[in-house]
């Protein structure tokens, strides 16, 4: 099977869907790049090159470069989705949610319900999140929790190239507004990705490693960190279940609960701030539904409650690290009443 990067997998999912469905369009800032310039078109293909090559193949009517105008991009995508297109709108950095959130959570997310089931909004918002690239406080955040809390939205956080392709195809074919959160640390990572099209259903967690001592749930790239920790601890005879929910809305609560029923211990890792985040949310679900199975308090490994700092020393301290995950696993294992 061919090896592809996360970036290539996402690009391939869009290209294949666009070939078979002429209503799929891509719209955003520099999704091609070079509009109105003297140099080359498709100069960027998105700031991270994820949409590169779509413009030459599908042309300017389906790969639409916009001004820097996030509210209008999201609103136009939502209006287009209500009227026959299936837009893939790019929100360059997830931090920019702040300048367009109304069009997503008050408009796109609510059409179907607010209009009594008579409207639909089949759009995908592709966005890039994740700290560690020294992007500072406004180019680094993962705001998955903010979109996960909105009824009407679905939220996808692929953690490897294989999942990214299958989940994006599912997202494009879905009739609701889907927020597709790409972790910018993963674009260069690769794995086997089939050339043919395939879908991965929403709401089905992926068991990356099966174990009996501790359940570790990770969101976005933290799941890969959890996996590395679990691999190391296995050498000491500590056996971890590592679960990647793959979608935070819908969330596969059942798989997490089943795992906790076996291990009795839960560590949740996410790269979001600690209050009202995914770790807090999953923690409350397990406390409510699997309290009797718990043999230790649930441990959350999250970022710090502060804006994301710039200096590498500070940012590294802000982010959840493998050492933090390992410490949490050891803490739940060592817990005695």
């Amino acid at each position: 099977m061919p090896i592809k990067t996360y970036r290539q997998a996402i690009n391939e999912a869009m290209a294949q869907e666009m070939r078979q469905d002429s209503t799929v369009i891509v719209i955003g800032e520099d999704v091609a790049g070079g509009a109105g310039c003297d140099g080359e078109r498709d100069a960027y293909g998105g700031v991270m090159g994820v949409t590169k090559g779509l413009f030459p193949e599908f042309g300017e009517s389906r790969v639409i470069d916009t001004p820097i105008t996030e509210s209008a991009i999201m609103g136009a995508a939502a209006g287009a989705a209500q009227t026959g297109l299936r837009p893939i709108a790019e929100l360059m950095f997830m931090d920019f949610l702040g300048v367009c959130f109304d069009q997503i959570y008050n408009q796109a997310a609510k059409f179907r319900y607010m209009f009594g089931g008579k409207a639909q909004c089949p759009m995908v918002v592709r966005t890039m999140a994740g700290a560690g690239l020294r992007g500072g406080a406004q180019h680094s955040q993962n705001l998955t929790q903010m979109v996960t809390m909105v009824p009407g939205l679905k939220v996808v956080c692929p953690t490897n190239a294989f999942d990214a392709k299958g989940l994006l195809i599912t997202a494009i074919r879905d009739n609701d507004c889907v927020i597709f959160v790409e972790d910018k640390f993963l674009y260069e990572t690769s794995c086997e990705v089939p050339d043919e099209m395939y879908t991965i259903p929403f709401g089905e967690a992926n068991f990356l490693r099966e174990g009996t001592d501790v359940t570790i749930v990770g969101i976005s790239n933290t799941v890969n960190k959890a996996l590395a920790v679990a691999d190391r601890l296995a050498a000491e005879g500590i056996s971890c279940d590592v679960i990647d929910p793959r979608t935070t809305s819908p969330l596969d609560e059942e798989s997490i609960i089943e795992s906790v029923e076996v291990t009795g211990r839960l560590v949740i890792v996410d790269e979001m701030t600690p209050r009202c985040g995914l770790a807090a949310d999953i923690s409350s679900i397990v406390a409510e539904k699997a309290f009797g199975s718990l043999r230790a308090p649930i441990m959350k490994v999250t970022a710090a409650h502060s804006p994301i700092p710039f200096a590498p020393a500070l940012e590294d301290a802000w982010m959840p690290q493998e050492s933090d995950i390992e410490a949490a696993v050891r803490a739940v294992l060592g817990y005695t009443r």
Binding site: I64, T66, A77, A78, Q82, T83, L85, D102, R112, G116
Partner: protein, 323 residues
């Protein structure tokens, strides 16, 4: 003369339907039969009517929190609307929208929007669909003078010009954004010229005159249909009621509302012109008035008698499929 006899009578009937609908829901609100907030379109009827007469079901509109008139003019079912506003079964939005989210999606009325300035970006998208799919449809966003100041509206106008989509930005300047005068809040004092600065033609019209409004809207729709990109209209008009029902309107001048209702009543202006130009007789208009009154009464009576939505519907239609 822009409207012929048949068109005029249709326009008059639509305007009368909106007026009677609004006064009836105002009465029912006063009697406690309508929960929530109501923002009435009374006084502005000629604008929705003049625009929507130039549109078909394949054209799209988005509206504001003051959206009943747009919905009726676009062909929304008055009975279903009455039920929706009274929070009854069989309502246009199954009881999940209400007055501020009234919609007739099947008629191209994509929804009233209670976020001021929420609609213009959406209509750019609807117009983008029309352009990309080459359907020949146009999109119209109805926005007030209040919404004209929102950043979303500026972004939408710019993007519409950049993408050259068939979008019409209809600004209904009724003089007030809630309790603040447009003369204070619109920095440029002139919504049309501000729209023109984005790079599209912008027209101005007396929104109380159905003949002029129809003609101006026709120009705008023709402009869009012929592929010339977006266009804006500023229609001056007045609001007969407060921002919301129950608004004491202390911000309005002494006798102002009374004077405006006398001088700028689009129904009276329409009747006077039509009778003078022999487009209609007093008897014909009276007959329409009577028919509309019965129609609205029937809708209201049916809505009053209808049951509340079933609580089992609470979680339906959040998503397109099982969640």
């Amino acid at each position: 003369m822009s409207l012929d006899k048949k068109q005029f009578l249709q326009a008059y009937r639509t305007m009368r339907t909106i007026r009677d609908f609004e006064y009836r829901v105002s009465d029912e609100f006063g009697k406690g039969n309508i929960p929530g907030f109501l923002h009435l379109y009374a006084g502005q009827e000629a604008i929705a009517t003049g625009m929507c007469m130039n549109l078909s079901d394949e054209d799209y509109i988005v509206s504001t929190h003051r959206g009943h008139g747009h919905c009726i003019a676009k062909g929304g079912d008055v009975g279903d609307m009455m039920k929706e506003i009274m929070a009854k079964q069989g309502g246009s939005c199954a009881g999940k929208g209400g007055s501020m989210h009234i919609a007739a999606v099947e008629k191209g009325m994509l929804g009233a929007n209670a976020i001021v300035g929420g609609g213009p970006p959406l209509i750019v998208g609807a117009a983008l669909s029309a352009k990309t799919l080459a359907t020949g449809s146009v999109g119209v966003s109805f926005t007030g003078d209040g919404g004209s100041n929102q950043g979303t509206t500026f972004e939408a106008m710019n993007l519409a010009v950049v993408l050259q989509v068939p979008a019409i930005f209809m600004f209904e300047n009724n003089g007030y954004g809630e309790g603040t005068a447009a003369g204070y809040a619109v920095g440029s004092k002139d919504i049309a010229s501000r729209a023109a600065a984005f790079g599209m033609p912008a027209l101005k019209v007396d929104g109380a005159d159905i003949f002029e409004t129809y003609e101006t809207c026709k120009k705008a729709v023709d402009h869009c249909r012929s592929g010339k990109g977006p266009i804006a209209i500023e229609a001056s008009i007045t609001r007969f009621r407060g921002h919301f029902e129950g608004d004491a309107q202390q911000y309005r001048g002494k006798g102002e509302v009374k004077r405006l209702m006398k001088d700028l009543d689009c129904l009276k202006i329409a009747s006077d012109i039509a009778i003078e130009k022999k487009l209609a007789t007093k008897a014909e208009l009276k007959k329409i008035d009577k028919e509309v009154a019965a129609y609205i009464d029937e809708a209201a009576t049916a809505a009053l008698a209808a049951p509340s939505p079933d609580v089992s519907e609470l979680l339906t239609d959040v998503y397109s499929s099982a969640y």
